[in-house]
């Protein structure tokens, strides 16, 4: 691939790359928004005459971004969404210009030389280019809107899913989506929520989460992680937040969640996973090393305790868990609820297969 990232572009993306590396932007939503704003800047700053050059550029930027924080799948998702947007735009323009019937576009999908044709066809005038640019930027604006208002779409389903006097359990107190979902349901329903303590990484978050729920007059109980199996028999639904959803229907969530869903399966308790559309990824999960971020060992074992620190062979504090699709009953997204087996279809609607690998 030609090196299309110029110094100018580099200076736009570098601050974001380094803050991603330093983990200064945390939170999936913040990262998604930061990336989309960044891509907006890149597209308006970049000089391109051919939309395919732009695609190459965005792919390269995407590679740099995802290597900055390889285990955050969301960065790649946003980049791929933008790429799909550009490709859609090219497609429609191409259809308008060439006035080709639908049939031939079907053929062109199968023929190998179609890309060449496209490129030649797209020697367009400047005016059209600037039109395309503004259309793409508008598309990204819509994406930003979608990401910022992701909770609205999910919340609306809460009343249908939660019943009166039900006991719910959530092991992901870090998820704002779950919080809003429960608060919204409280408007019409009365229910109890069990929140797991989430030791060691999210204790504070769990406490704040429970506090916020209590403020909204939801009966909230903070339970130790180890009691999940014991309480599961009383739980009506498990609601988890997810940090990424793969095309096979599996998802990434906080560490400890896989043990909770295992308990739920044992008790035949339904598991609902909440995920914004931007968390859906066209990728498939392969190796755990590439998926799971390992965090600060100091959280798992106090560093002061030098006798243990010296003598323990290994301290590993995994931050994420992979949940296989078998454990999840329904994904609730801002475009509706879907079974895990149906996720691949939504992925196809939103991404182009050409962009599955960015490099």
């Amino acid at each position: 691939m030609p090196n299309t990232v110029t110094g100018e572009i580099r200076s736009i993306i570098d601050p974001v790359v380094s803050s991603l590396k330093r983990h200064q932007i945390e939170g999936d939503k913040d990262i998604a928004l930061a990336i989309s704003h960044l891509l907006m800047k890149v597209i308006s700053a970049a000089r391109w005459t051919n939309p395919y050059d732009l695609i190459d550029l965005i792919r390269e930027v995407g590679t740099i971004l995802s290597s900055a924080y390889p285990r955050k799948i969301i960065t790649g998702n946003v980049v791929r969404r933008v790429l799909a947007l550009i490709r859609d735009e090219i497609e429609t323009e191409h259809n308008e210009n060439a006035n080709t019937p639908m049939m031939s576009s079907m053929f062109s999908l199968l023929s190998t030389s179609n890309n060449e044709n496209h490129k030649e066809l797209h020697k367009q005038s400047k005016k059209q280019m600037s039109d395309l640019r503004s259309i793409i930027i508008q598309g990204i604006r819509d994406l930003v809107d979608e990401i910022s208002n992701v909770n609205d779409g999910i919340e609306t389903m809460s009343v249908d899913l939660i019943h009166d006097n039900e006991i719910l359990l959530t092991p992901t107190p870090t998820s704002d989506t779950v919080l809003q979902f429960l608060i919204k349901a409280r408007a019409k329903r009365k229910f109890t929520v069990l929140v797991t303590e989430s030791f060691p990484n999210y204790i504070k978050e769990a406490q704040n989460f429970a506090k916020k729920l209590a403020e909204h007059k939801i009966e909230t109980i903070l339970v130790p992680d180890s009691t999940v199996y014991a309480v599961m028999s009383r739980v009506g639904k498990v609601i988890i937040g997810s940090s990424a959803v793969f095309a096979n229907g599996g998802c990434m969530s906080n560490s400890g969640v896989s043990h909770v869903v295992e308990c739920a399966k044992e008790h035949r308790t339904p598991v609902f996973a909440l995920a914004g559309l931007y968390k859906l990824s066209p990728l498939y999960p392969f190796t755990r090393d590439d998926l799971i971020e390992v965090g600060n060992s100091g959280k798992a074992l106090n560093y002061d305790d030098f006798k243990l620190v010296d003598n323990v062979e290994l301290v590993t504090n995994a931050l994420d868990d992979y949940i296989s699709p078998d454990y999840i009953d329904i994904y609730i997204t801002n475009v509706g609820g879907f079974a895990p087996s149906f996720i691949y279809r939504i992925v196809l609607d939103n991404y182009k297969t050409e962009d599955n690998t960015l490099e």
């Binding site: 200076s11 200064q24 560093y303 290994l314």
Partner: protein, 728 residues
């Protein structure tokens, strides 16, 4: 990007937040490797140390970084120029300051003050800090303390550990006395290295007089030398030209000084996920490397790829690999290991808890445990490397064994079948050969050696040791004067490897130390250098007697000269005391020696008066001791020391001319008693103990004083009687 620090209301400060990085540590703990490369460019987990510091500064939201370079300044400058920090996307501007004349932290700070770069509060760090602390919290504490206390000048950032923690400095562990409520630092004391003995610190009661609440004495803190300073700090260094080090001189000086009424606070991080440490010795190099590998310093981990072209990926078990690593199918890579790109590992080799650099070749059946192999090194078949460091481009022959603590320098070649003993340090070129190139001396001498010490290589033993490196090997055993001290320190922990925190293995290193100290004593007559850092001198107390004696003689001469000058030129008392104190600290001798020297000079002066007939013995004594006696106020603390002073005086006076020594002793004791330097109970104690000494001269000299003592005794008895009567 973190939000810019809010301006505090009363201090109108510059928008820019500055950081001063001391790239030089002014110590020689990493010799001989630092003779080629400065400490801050040594790789820690395959990333130059300075990157960790700069990364911390970037995260802390610093806008302007000044690197103060002295030794190897050009290397550092070149490195920085090429690094990503000078690109226009860098979060801060980097400026290297050449401070080639600096020989200590104090010099560097004075240089900084002369340059007038400091515009507001700044962050002072050394170039070897590895930390992930949330700096904004520390800054908030600093701001808050500053508002509460106008005299606040420094906030030290400390983290909790335990006294014998591996990452804590074992060479100069230190004790902080803090106000429990406010974390105000009241006193600081470096304590002798951890060696299993009990140590004590003495605290001047005056210091703790005005404490309202409780105070705590802590010996469990990691001091990584991250300080938030106000612009007063360089000024204080400027005013106190004798301050050399940041802690033992500056901090202690400011806290104990009556003149500088400034306060210093500590910020102690209480979050268990916050990590801070300094790489200041082989022991901490080892510990910090292991901590970085084991993700205690997350997100500062190898797979964060701090340097642009690094490509580390994480695998479970804390294994980090770059791309293009070739591992033989039967080799075993254990936990906590990092391997750089283009490195190949042969069949049957096993590597654990180690760092392997780029482009290394590791042969078959090699065992590498807890060792650090830098880039381009070649390890041939069947070698065993345990707790050792192999610097860049070194070659280790087949069947070689590197014992714990050995350091193989750059480009050294160790021949086949050799056994490198514990703590051996091997360098490519004997440093003594570099004499002719001494014009550029500070570059091949170490970053920390002082100018005088550049001459030291004359006396270094650098033998091309065929026994050690083999027929076809390249390398010389490195033993330098300074190094020897280091070696002896290794008794307590400089042994770089994990040895310090395994107390039981201390004995192992004892023999080797005994042999080196012998050699040292022999050539010590040429040892003229003044120790600059009292920390390294601490170790001398633990060495052979010859050495300490020499030290004391040195001190006696210097101190006598100082007091003499003060008498001749009629300096004021404070100046004389300050000079003496500085001398005492730099030589690291006890107050006993100071008293000895002072008494010697004062008595000489009296004798001079008497023999020249200028004054009578009585007048001379009165004159000298009334004027100069108060010096003892700051040399004598507590009962035992008073008795000690009296012993010194009586011994010395008894050696004087019999014609007048009685008078001198009597008046000396009387005047010192009148000046409240001596308490009567201590005089009596001295009288009692000196009565037992069968020294004729002494007993004779005491005749006149006897009356005085009798009078004291009576007075005391009377007062006792009185009090008894009263109680009746």
């Amino acid at each position: 990007m973190p939000p810019k620090n809010k301006k505090s209301k009363e201090t109108v400060q510059d928008e820019r937040f500055q950081a001063i990085v001391l790239t030089d540590s002014f110590e020689t703990r990493f010799m001989p490797l630092t003779s080629v490369k400065p400490r801050c460019l040594l790789p820690l987990a395959n990333v130059p140390l300075i990157e960790y510091t700069l990364e911390f500064l970037a995260k802390a939201g610093v806008n302007e970084v000044h690197l103060i370079c002295s030794a190897h300044a050009e290397q550092i400058q070149q490195y920085i120029e090429k690094s990503r920090w000078t690109s226009k996307n860098s979060p801060f501007s980097v400026n290297t300051i050449m401070s080639l004349e600096s020989r200590s932290v104090g010099d560097a700070m004075r240089d900084l003050d002369n340059r007038g770069l400091i515009t507001g509060d700044f962050l002072l760090v050394s170039g070897d800090v590895v930390t992930n602390i949330d700096f904004n919290r520390a800054m908030a504490v600093h701001k808050q303390k500053k508002q509460q206390d106008k005299e606040h000048i420094v906030t030290m950032v400390l983290t909790k550990a335990s006294p014998l923690h591996r990452t804590r400095s074992h060479i100069d562990p230190s004790t902080f006395v803090l106000d429990k409520k406010t974390d105000r630092c009241l006193y600081y004391q470096g304590i002798p290295p951890v060696d299993g003995h009990k140590t004590s610190i003495s605290i001047d009661p005056e210091l703790i007089e005005d404490i309202e609440d409780e105070m705590i004495i802590r010996n469990d803190l990691i001091d990584c030398h991250v300080d938030i300073c106000t612009p007063h700090v360089p000024q204080i260094f400027q005013e106190n030209f004798d301050y050399q080090t940041l802690r033992s001189d500056f901090l202690k000086g400011v806290l104990t000084s009556d003149l500088v009424k400034k306060t210093i606070y500590a910020y102690i991080s209480d979050d268990s996920s916050e990590y801070a440490a300094r790489v200041e010795s082989w022991a901490t190099y080892d510990a910090v490397s292991q901590d970085v590998l084991a993700r205690w310093c997350y997100p500062l981990v190898p797979d964060a790829n701090l340097i642009e072209n690094n490509s580390y990926t994480y695998e479970f078990g804390h294994i980090y690999k770059e791309d293009k690593v070739i591992l033989a199918q039967s080799c075993k890579i254990g936990n906590c290991t990092s391997i750089g790109s283009n490195t190949s590992v042969g069949e049957g080799s096993s590597i654990r808890k180690s760092v392997i650099g780029r482009n290394c070749k590791i042969g078959k059946n090699v065992i590498i445990i807890n060792s650090y192999i830098w880039e381009n090194a070649v390890i041939e078949d069947n070698a065993v490397i345990n707790h050792a460091i192999v610097a860049a481009n070194a070659v280790i022959g087949s069947n070689v064994t590197l014992s714990p603590g050995s350091v193989i320098g750059f480009n050294v070649k160790i021949g086949d079948n050799k056994h490198v003993p514990n703590n051996a340090r091997i360098v490519e070129n004997p440093i003594v050969k570099d004499e002719d190139s001494f014009d550029s001396d500070s570059f091949n001498s170490d970053d920390e050696e002082t100018h005088t010490e550049n001459q030291v290589p004359h006396f270094e033993i650098n033998v091309k040791d065929i026994d050690l490196v083999g027929e076809d090997g390249v390398g010389f055993l490195y033993v330098s004067d300074r190094d020897l001290e280091e070696e002896s320190e290794s008794e307590y922990g400089d042994n770089y490897s994990g040895i310090i925190y395994q107390m039981k293995s201390l004995n192992v290193s004892d023999d080797s130390i005994a042999s080196v100290s012998d050699r040292k004593a022999k050539k010590h007559h040429s040892h003229k250098t003044r120790r600059l850092s009292s920390t390294s001198a601490v170790s001398t107390d633990f060495e052979g007697g010859t050495f300490s004696d020499e030290e004391e003689e040195d001190f006696a001469k210097e101190a006598e000269a100082t007091v003499h000058r003060a008498l001749e030129n009629n300096h004021d008392l404070d100046t004389a005391l300050l000079e003496l104190n500085t001398l005492r600290m730099s030589m690291n001798v006890t107050y006993h020696e100071v008293r000895l020297a002072t008494c010697e000079v004062l008595l000489k002066k009296i004798v001079e008066f008497v023999t020249t007939g200028t004054l009578e013995a009585k007048d001379a004594t009165t004159k000298i001791f009334t004027h100069w006696g108060p010096m003892f106020k700051r040399q004598v603390f507590g009962g035992d020391e008073e008795v000690d002073l009296l012993h010194i005086l009586s011994q010395k006076i008894s050696k004087l001319d019999k014609a007048y020594n009685q008078i001198i002793l009597f008046f000396t004791v009387k005047i010192l008693y009148d000046l409240d330097i001596l308490e009567e109970s201590n005089i009596l104690a001295w009288w009692k103990s000196s009565g037992e000494v069968a020294d004729e001269d002494l007993q004779e000299a005491k005749t006149l004083t006897a009356k005085f003592v009798d009078w004291l005794q009576e007075a005391e008895e009377e007062s006792e009687e009185e009090s008894e009567e009263e109680s009746e």
